[in-house]
Symmetry: C2
Subunit: 613 residues, 2 copies
C-alpha cells in the first residue's frame, strides 16, 4: 500500500467524519480527526484482517475503540470499507440508526460498547486471552486508546494482567492528542512518560513521533511482530482536530460538530476528495474451531440435612458442568479460595484465569470472552462487584453473557465486618436490564443455579453465602429462572414468609417455633429474585393473609422492593425485615439478631402481623 493512497483515504475519512457529525448536529469530530492516519493505516494499510461479510467469524482481527466518542471515525472506517453505506452514515446519532453516539452492539461490528472511558483495553484482554489460550487462533486485537482515559485505573489493571499473560496479540494504539474534554491532560504530549509507564507495566512500546505521518505509522506497525511475549503499545503524538485549521489543538472544540457554514470552510482545508478510492481490508486466515466435545454430567449427590455452604456448592457445580459446557470459562478476582472457584482452577487450569485483585478489568475481559462464544463465570465477594459497577452497567449495551457469582453476601459473613459484606449487590444487579438474579439457599439449588446460568443467554448474577447451611432439596426438585419454591405449606397457613439464602433458613427455624404455638406460616424460597415468580406469590396472596419478606441486604433496591413492584396494587399487606442498622463485626448469629432478620425476629414479626388483623 502506497503512502499517498493512505493519505487519500485519510482525507476521505475526514470528509465522512465532518459531514456526518455536522448532519447529526453533535458528536466528536476533533477526537476522531486525531486518529485518522493511525486507523487508516491499520484498516487499509494491510494490517487489519477481517471478513467484512461475517463479523462473527472467529478469526477476524478485533478492533475496539476504547475512546468510544471517536465513533464518527469508527463508522467512517467501515463506510470507507463499504461495509456500511455512506447514506447510512448520515443517520449518525438518530433514533432509527444503529450508528449511535457511542458504539453499542446494535452496530454489528462492535465488539465492546464503549463511551465510559478506560474499558476497551480490558475487553481486548479477554479477546486476546481467548485467541492465545482458548481458541488458539491467530487473530490480533487492536484497541484505540485516548490519552485522557489513561487516568482511569482500569487501564492499568488491564496493562498489568495483559503482560502477566504475555498477550503479544494485543495491540494498544494510543492517540495522544494532548487534550481531554475540559483541559490539557496531566501529561500533555509527554510521550516519554507514557512509554515509561507502559514499559514498567511489561509492555513493548513503539513510539510514533508524528501520528499523522503514514510512513512513521507503517514503520510502527511493522515493529509489532518484534514483540515475542509482551503486549504492544504504539504511542503516537497526534493533534486533536487535525486537518482543519480552525479547530486544530483547541480545547474548546471537544465534542462539538461544525455548523454548516464552518463545514464549508473545512472542506477547503481538506481539498479534493477521491470518493472512488479503493479501501481494502485484508481477509483473515482460515480457522476452524476444534469441534468441542460435549460431555454428560450427573448432579452432585448432596444429602438432605448435610451442611454445605452455597459458595462451596458453586465450586463443585463448576466441575460437575465442565464437560457439558466446554465453553464455560472461570475467572476470579484473586479470591478463588473464598469463592471456591479454586476447585475448578485445580481441575481445569486451562479454562481458569486468575484475574488478581482487579475487578474492573476482570468484568470487561469476561465481556470480551462472551464476544467469542465463551461462557465466563466470574467470581469475587459480592461486595467487590461494586468496584466494577460501571463495567457491569456497560456490559448490557454489548449484548453480554456474563455469569457473575458473588460470595460473602450479607451481614451473616460475620467478623470481617462491613467492608466485606455484600449489602447492595442485589440492588446493583437488579438495575442491570435483562440481568437475571438468582439467590440459591442450599447446595442443590446452587448447582441448579449454575446450570441455569450456563444455559441462559444473557447476564446472570448468582449470590452465594459464606456460612454452611443445610441441604433442603433433593435432585428431584426442579428450578428455573423466574421460579421459586414453596418449602412449607398447609391449609392452615396464616401468613407467607419469603426468604432467600440465609434468611430462608431463619424462616424455617421460625416455622418450627411457631408451629409449636399452633401458628402455621407458609415458607417460600424466592430463589429467582429477578425475574420474580409472580404466579407462586399470587397464589400465596390468595391463600394467606400477608407476606413477610426477610433479606440479608439493605432495603433499597433489595428483595422486598422487587416483590412490592411485582405485586403492585394487590390488597394483601406486605411487610419486610432487612438490614437496617449500620453493620458491624460480630458473630454471624449475633449479627442476624442485631439486624433483626433472625428467626427470633421473624417469629416476633409474624405474631405482630397476626395480632394486627
Amino acid at each position: 500500500m502506497e503512502v499517498t493512497k493512505l493519505e487519500e483515504i485519510s482525507k476521505l475519512l475526514r470528509y465522512y467524519i465532518l459531514t456526518s457529525t455536522t448532519e447529526a448536529g453533535s458528536g466528536h469530530p476533533t477526537s476522531s480527526l486525531s486518529a485518522v492516519e493511525l486507523m487508516a493505516t491499520l484498516f487499509f494499510g494491510g494490517y487489519l484482517k477481517y471478513n467484512l461479510e461475517d463479523p462473527t467469524f472467529l478469526n477476524n482481527d478485533r478492533i475496539i475503540f476504547s475512546k468510544g466518542h471517536a465513533s464518527p471515525l469508527y463508522y467512517s472506517l467501515w463506510t470507507a470499507a463499504k461495509a456500511i453505506d455512506s447514506n447510512e452514515l448520515m443517520n449518525l446519532r438518530k433514533l432509527n440508526s444503529d450508528l449511535e453516539g457511542h458504539p453499542t452492539s446494535n452496530f454489528k461490528f462492535t465488539d465492546a460498547a464503549t463511551g465510559s472511558l478506560g474499558q476497551g483495553l480490558s475487553a481486548g484482554v479477554g479477546l486476546a486471552l481467548n485467541s492465545k489460550y482458548l481458541d488458539k487462533s491467530n487473530y490480533k486485537t487492536y484497541v484505540l486508546l485516548g490519552d485522557g482515559e489513561l487516568s482511569e485505573g482500569s487501564i492499568w489493571e488491564a496493562a498489568n494482567v495483559a503482560s502477566h499473560y504475555k498477550l503479544n496479540n494485543l495491540i494498544a494504539i494510543l492517540d495522544c492528542n494532548r487534550l481531554e474534554q475540559a483541559s490539557e491532560t496531566i501529561l500533555g504530549w509527554d510521550l516519554k512518560t507514557y512509554k515509561a509507564r507502559f514499559e514498567s507495566f511489561g509492555w513493548y512500546v513503539i513510539e510514533v513521533e508524528n501520528g499523522h505521518d503514514v510512513q512513521q505509522i507503517i514503520t510502527a506497525f511493522e515493529q509489532i511482530k518484534n514483540s515475542t511475549d509482551k503486549p504492544i503499545c504504539i504511542v503516537a503524538k497526534t493533534v486533536k482536530g487535525k486537518g482543519i485549521k480552525n479547530i486544530e489543538d483547541k480545547v474548546e472544540w471537544h465534542g462539538k460538530a461544525l455548523k454548516r457554514e464552518e463545514l464549508e470552510n473545512a472542506m477547503h482545508d481538506l481539498g479534493k476528495i477521491n470518493f472512488s478510492i479503493d479501501c481494502n481490508v485484508l481477509k483473515p486466515d482460515d480457522f476452524k474451531q476444534t469441534e468441542p466435545q460435549i460431555g454428560n454430567f450427573n448432579w452432585s449427590e448432596y444429602k438432605l440435612g448435610e451442611f454445605v455452604a452455597t459458595r462451596k456448592a458453586y465450586g463443585n457445580a463448576l466441575n460437575v458442568l465442565a464437560e457439558k459446557y466446554p465453553e464455560l470459562i472461570v475467572m476470579d478476582g484473586g479470591t478463588q479460595n473464598s469463592t471456591h472457584s479454586e476447585v475448578f482452577q485445580k481441575k481445569h487450569p486451562e479454562r481458569f484465569f486468575d484475574m488478581y485483585i482487579a475487578e474492573q478489568n476482570m468484568i470487561s475481559a469476561a465481556l470480551g470472552l462472551t464476544r467469542v462464544n465463551k461462557i465466563p463465570f466470574v467470581s469475587t465477594f459480592a461486595a467487590f462487584f461494586s468496584r466494577a459497577f460501571d463495567q457491569i452497567r456497560m456490559s448490557q449495551y454489548s449484548n453480554s453473557n456474563i455469569k457473575f457469582v458473588g460470595s460473602h453476601a450479607g451481614v451473616s459473613i460475620g467478623e470481617d465486618g462491613s467492608s466485606q459484606m455484600g449489602l447492595e449487590d442485589i440492588a446493583m444487579f437488579r438495575s442491570v436490564q435483562d440481568c437475571a438474579v438468582l439467590y440459591p439457599s442450599d447446595a442443590v439449588s446452587m448447582e441448579r443455579a449454575v446450570y441455569l446460568a450456563a444455559e441462559h443467554k444473557g447476564n446472570v448474577y448468582i449470590r452465594s453465602t459464606r456460612m454452611d447451611t443445610p441441604v433442603i432439596y433433593s435432585n428431584e426438585n426442579a428450578f428455573k429462572i423466574g421460579g421459586s419454591k414453596i418449602v412449607k405449606e398447609s391449609v392452615y397457613d396464616s401468613i407467607t414468609v419469603v426468604g432467600a439464602g440465609v434468611t430462608l433458613h431463619e424462616a424455617l427455624k421460625a416455622y418450627e417455633t411457631l408451629k409449636e404455638k399452633n401458628i402455621f406460616i407458609r415458607v417460600v424460597d424466592l430463589f429467582s429474585v429477578k425475574p420474580i415468580d409472580y404466579a407462586t406469590l399470587s397464589k400465596c396472596i390468595r391463600e394467606t393473609k400477608a407476606i413477610l419478606i426477610v433479606e440479608d441486604h439493605y432495603a433499597e433496591g433489595g428483595i422486598a422492593e422487587a416483590i412490592r413492584s411485582e405485586l403492585a396494587n394487590v390488597k394483601t399487606k406486605i411487610f419486610s425485615l432487612c438490614v437496617s442498622k449500620m453493620p458491624h463485626s460480630g458473630k454471624p448469629s449475633e449479627l442476624l439478631d442485631y439486624e433483626e432478620i433472625s428467626s427470633k425476629f421473624i417469629v416476633e414479626k409474624v405474631k405482630e402481623i397476626i395480632n394486627s388483623f
Copy 2:
C-alpha cells in the same frame, strides 16, 4: 531511638497481633506481621507526629492502613502507644467493640475505613491536598499499602493525581510480602518493577531491601525529606507471617488465626516480651487554622419561565454559596464544562481540584477531605459515579460527608446514547445508608439543594439534568431534605402524578393537556427522593384516587420503588412509568416518547387509570 528498642517494640506488637487474633478466632495475623518493623519505626522511631489525646487535631499526621486486613497490627500500634487499653484489644472483632475486622470510623483513630483494597492511597491524596493547598499545615499522610492491592487500578489513579499535585507530604509504604490471599502476586518480590512503576508515575521511590531491618527502615524514613516535589513511596521487601517460623511466607496462612496450641509455640519463637517498654509517639507541631471568614449570600434571581439547565444552576449555586461556606471545596472528574462546576473553578481556583478522568480516586480523595472538616462537592456524569460505587459504598463506613452531584441523568440527555445516561444512579445512591438523594427540577430548587447539601452533615447525592428546563419556583419557596412540592392542586384532582427533574415538566405539560379535557391531576415535584416526603404523599393519597410516578431512570431501585416502600400497604393504587426499553441515541424528546415517559404517555396513562376505576 535505638534500633534495639524498636526491635523490642516490634516483638511486643507481634505479641499483641497474635494474641488478639487467636482470642478473636479469626483475622489476618500474617498480613500484620510483615509490616511490624515498618510501622513500629514510623510510630515509635520519631517519625509519626500525633496528639493521642485528640485525634481530631488538625495538624496530626495521618496514617491509613490501605491494607485494612492488617487491622490487628493497626490496633496493636495504638495499644502499644497506650491510646487504647490492652484489654480492649482482646475484644477484637466482637460486636460490642470498636475494633472491627477491618477499620471503620467506629474506631476513633481511623481516617478511612478500609477493607476493600486499593482505596487508602486515594484517601491519602485528599488529606495531602488539604495540608498542602487548603489548610497549609505541615502534617504528613502515611499510607500502608499491600502489594496485592497494587493490582487495583485505583492505586494508579491516586499515583497519577498525587504526582500531578506534587504531594511531597504523601508517603506510601509498600509492605511487599509477595503473597496475596490465594496465590503469589503477579510481581512477587520484584521490587525493581514496583520501583519503575511508581517512578514512571512521578514518585520518589526509596527501596528497603529488608523490611524487617529497623536500621534500613530508619535510613529510608530519613530520605523522605529529600523529595522536594514528589510523593514518596518506600518499597520494602517483607515476609508474610514474619517472626513465627511455621507460618512465614506460606500462602495457605492468609486470613487465619493461630489456634491456642499454635499460639503457645509462636510465643517460643517470639521469646521474652518487654511489656513495660516505652512506646512514644512524637507530638505534632502547633497549628492554628486561620479563622474562616463566613460571608453572606443572596439567592440568584432566576425569572419564572426562564429556561436554565439544573446543571448550570449547580455551577452558579456553588459560586453563590462560596463565601457562606469557606470549607466548601469542589472536585470534578474532568467534566467540569459539562457539569458546570467550571464556573466555580474559574472564580475560586484555589478551592477547586481537577481530579481528571479518575472517578474512584476522586471519591476517596473527597472522603479524605471530609476528615479535615472540608465539605467536598464532587461532580461528574451521573452514569460515571457507577465507576466509584465501591468507594461510595465504603465512604459510609467512614462517617462521610461528601456531596455528589451527577449530571446528564436519564435518556433525556439525547444523542450521546446509553453509555452516558445515568439510569441506575438513584438505585445506587439510595442503597448507601444515610445518603440523602435530591433531584431538583428547576434552577431555584437546584440552588436550594446545593445549600441543603452544604448544611447537611452526611453524604448527599444531587441529580442534575442536561437540558434546559423552565424555572417554576421563586425564591419564596422553601425546600428541605425530605420535602416535596405540590405544584398543581385543586379540589377536582382525580389522580396525583409524581415527577422529578425532566419528568416533572412532562407532568406539567400533561396537566395542561388534561385540563382542556376537564381532567385535573395533582402534580407533585418529589424533590427529595431519600428521605421521601411521607406527609405530602399521604395527603395526596387521601385526596386523590391513585398515584402515578414518572421517572427518567430504570425501574429497579428507582423512584417508584422508593415510594412503594414508603407507602407500603396503603390502599390507594400506585402506578409507574419509567425507562423500560434498552435506551438509544436520539433526540431528547424522541427518547422521552420512545421510553413512554413523556407528557403524551402521562396523558394516556392518566386516562387509562381513570377509566379503570
